[in-house]
Amino acid sequence: MVRGFGWAAAFPDEVWEHVFSFLAADADRNAVALVCRAWHRIERRSRRRVFVGNCYAVAPAAAVRRFPEVRAAAIKGKPHFADFNLVPTDWGGGAEAWVEAMAEGWPHLEELRLKRMVVSDDCLELIARSFKNFGVLSLVSCDGFSTAGLAAIAANCRNLRELDLHENEVEDNCLNWISHFPESFTSLVSLNIACLEGDVNTSVLECLISRCPNLKTLRLNHAMPLEKLVSLLQRAPQLVDVGTSKFSADHHPELFSKLESTFAGFKHLKSLSGIWEAGPTYLPAIYSVCESLTSLNLCYATIQSPELLKFVSRCKNLQRLWVMDLIEDNGLIAVAASCKLLQELRVFPSDPYGVAPPISLTEHGLVAISAGCLMLHSVLYFCRQMTNAALLTIANNRPNLTCFRLCIIEPHTPDYISQEPLDAGFSAIVESCKDLRRLSLSGLLTDRVFKSIGASANRLEMLSVAFAGDSDAGLHYILSGCKNLRKLEIRDCPFGDKALLDNASKLETMRSLWMSSCSVTLGACRQLALKMPRLNVEVIDERRGRPLESWPDDFPVEKLYIYRTVAGPRSDTPPCVWTV
């Protein structure tokens, strides 16, 4: 009889490693690592993928030391609200510390995905030089680098398979960076340069595409004219995912037919995006691919409703649709009728600041979709009006929602028919959709909705709140409920110290909490920091210059970012950020 955990020694390490390789989820692997020392050792040596949700939660060297055999890393930097300019640009999230540690400890790294981090050209060069087998670089919403850094990647990563630049701010100082891919380079599978602003040398790109037979994804940038796009795409009929450039030009029958034949040649096309500035002129040329599309991203395409409707209703197999509100209610009703496999819908506002007359996209569109698309589970919807009744209907129709983000453009907008707060509607959503993982609230809301959320949203992982609530009770309900809450971001709500301090221990179970323009005072932050040493309580204030120590306890905190960490206070805080 083997005592204690001696049974772990019954099998050699390789066997356990093999068993663990079936555990995909990090949470499972973490659990395994806690069983006994042997498993801890085996698991850490065999972990190949690491996801770091907050780059400051752990010191890079520590992570690299703990998991020495990592091949794929994903790291996130700035808080989500940095996307909306609420976080100072110098807040942090620099990638150097991580890249340096990885260069030292993970020479076999193959994949690196960074999101909302500041990546410099030096980082890119270090990446290019340090990892011999580097295959995948994905930069999402990053900034700080230029095409010169990309040139370094192109020149040195011999086995690069994927270069995915998604919505980054890239300086354009090296015009011909594409030509840095050597002639012998043929391994490219995915290239996404949609966020680059400058012109890309088309002929060099054509050569590159021609010699990479495995290319499946090609997303080009806006600057490329339509004729050049067509000649490029002709070289790669095997593409599965295409992001076009500008889709408008003066009408030329030749160009039209070339475009038509090119797209007809795509036998495997599943995903289409780009289509900047599409006009009715050239859109019909690509009707041939509609049937096979599963993902359509027209969120930059300012096509008006009739053409849009015609196009989208042909896409019978669509699973993901991102579109502008120019589609209007009629369009969504048509989508609900034709795209029965739709799983994810995102509707973006074409004119969020209300300068033009309002589009007729209302709650009816969303209700129609919820009724017609049985597999719908993810929604992002910008609109100007909503009713509790509509939300109730949606909740009843689609209890399988996992992500519901509703943005009513004007803050504090009530139910436009009954003039009541939208508490009832959102409560219905959380009560009905048991698997809801992500929720964004908007409109006029009182504390009642937070009571429902706290009580019912047991699977909720991320909650975004803006201009809602009456008092501290709202925050208290959330923090004392929502068992699985990981990320909470709040702006412009009257939430204050009491709820925060009463639920201090909850904050260690979450990845991060962002509060801006709320009623939190510095005294509460100090108390919180004292009470919870494993939280970094960062007070962000761009207005004052005096050091934190001299401010009184009742000083109102403008922006507050709290996150759990084992690395202690970070050393790269800019002048506007204080770790309390």
Binding site: F81, D83, F84, N85, L86, P88, T89, D90, V118, S141, D143, G144, E167, N168, E169, C195, H222, S248, W276, E277, G279, C299, Y300, T302, I303, Q304, F348, P349, S350, D351, P352, Y353, G354, V355, A356, F382, C407, I409, P411, S440, S464, A466, F467, R491, D492, E542, R543, R544, G545, R546, P547, L548, T573, P575, C576, W578
Partner: protein, 363 residues
């Protein structure tokens, strides 16, 4: 009307005399060409040089807007004979200094320096901008304590600008005044965000909350810079309501971004930028804010006197680097792609008179 100085007192006499001869013709053509333009927000008086001066290398040592150290240099006199432009009748004004319907008039007047200008020191961007009105330190909007805002006052001897820098509304009046002790022009400089600037731009969109609706800035920028041509609206630029441009500063470790749409005029923009970047001009700010008033203001003074003042430039749609302040505000926001704060010593080519350039531009 305020008169600004001629921009360049270092041009060679040769060139100046050429221009002197040529000026009536040039002025005449200018009137013809620029007559339909509304020059309301035209900060720089010197249309003649070319209303969009291009930076050339090597840059000349110069205060970018062309205001020399000798404010009393005759308006329209001296070597800047060409600046005897009263005859041309094109009027250029600084914010707040004209009545709104001045567009009917076509007089060109050279603007005097703002009152309280102390000669001998170079002036930066916002000095030149706010010629109208007395400059006094912004009275403390919050708290009576005068402190050196992290972003304030030390970039320039002006009062702390009140425009928010974190993307906040340009007219936020929530910042404490910054009094730079020992700095010149105390009490003479005012940077009130919209005080004195009652001349409205084209009807502004209603006040926007920062970061709301929650649309990613990447998306906003993309939609703003690639406006739809399908909608037939009057102005090409869609009301996505924002226009983020990067601002880099020579010597600063990272870029900032500003939304040009939240500012109504150059003064607000400069205030915000000064606030944002003041930290860098002082070098080591310490980890939190500004160490001490006196020490810094001294070095600040030294900076000024040594002429290492910063000038603000921008890259326009054609990729050329221009001085900020030359064109009307709307034209500027339409064409500005990015901003750069250069050391005055680097921006030497600004204001250099180049007849070829001028003529090419005009003709």
């Amino acid at each position: 009307h305020r008169k600004l100085l001629p921009n360049n007192n270092k041009t060679k006499p040769k060139g100046a005399s050429f221009l002197f001869w040529f000026s009536p013709f040039l002025a005449f053509f200018l009137v013809i060409l620029l007559l339909p333009l509304r020059l309301r927000n035209h900060h720089h008086f010197d249309v003649l040089w070319c209303s969009r001066r291009r930076l050339m290398s090597p840059p000349l040592e110069h205060d970018y807007i062309g205001l020399s150290e000798v404010p009393s240099a005759a308006v329209g006199g001296g070597e800047e004979g060409a600046l005897n432009l009263k005859a041309t009748e094109l009027r250029l004004g600084l914010p707040g200094s004209e009545s709104p319907d001045r567009k009917d008039k076509v007089g060109l007047t050279l603007e005097l320096l703002p009152r309280g200008f102390v000669s001998g020191a170079k002036r930066g961007f916002s000095d030149a901008i706010d010629g109208a009105g007395k400059w006094s330190f912004a009275s403390g909007e919050s708290g009576s304590e005068v402190e050196l805002g992290k972003g304030g006052g030390l970039f320039s001897p002006r009062g702390e600008p009140v425009a928010g820098s974190s993307g906040g509304q340009g007219t936020g009046g929530k910042d404490a005044a910054a009094k730079a002790a020992g700095q010149e022009r105390k009490g003479a400089v005012q940077v009130g965000s919209s005080v004195g600037d009652d001349r409205a731009m084209a009807p502004a969109a209603k006040a926007q909350v920062v970061g709301w609706p929650p649309i990613r800035s990447y998306r906003k920028n993309t939609m703003a810079t690639n406006p739809s041509k399908n909608k037939d609206d009057a102005d090409g630029k869609q009301g996505l309501g924002c226009l983020y441009v990067k601002v880099s500063m020579d010597g600063a470790p990272y870029l900032r971004k500003v939304d040009l749409k939240i500012y109504k005029n150059y003064k607000e923009l400069s205030s915000a930028l000064e606030k944002m970047f003041s930290c860098f001009t002082i070098g080591q700010c310490g980890s939190h804010g500004i160490p001490g008033k006196d020490g810094l203001s001294e070095s600040r003074l030294m900076d000024l006197l040594n002429g290492s003042e910063y000038v603000l430039t921008y890259e326009d749609k054609d990729g050329d680097w221009m001085l900020v302040g030359d064109v009307p505000w709307e034209m500027f926001t339409d064409s500005c792609k990015r901003l750069r704060i250069m050391k005055g010593s680097d921006a030497i080519g600004l204001g250099k008179y180049d007849p070829v350039n001028v003529l090419c531009y005009i003709f």
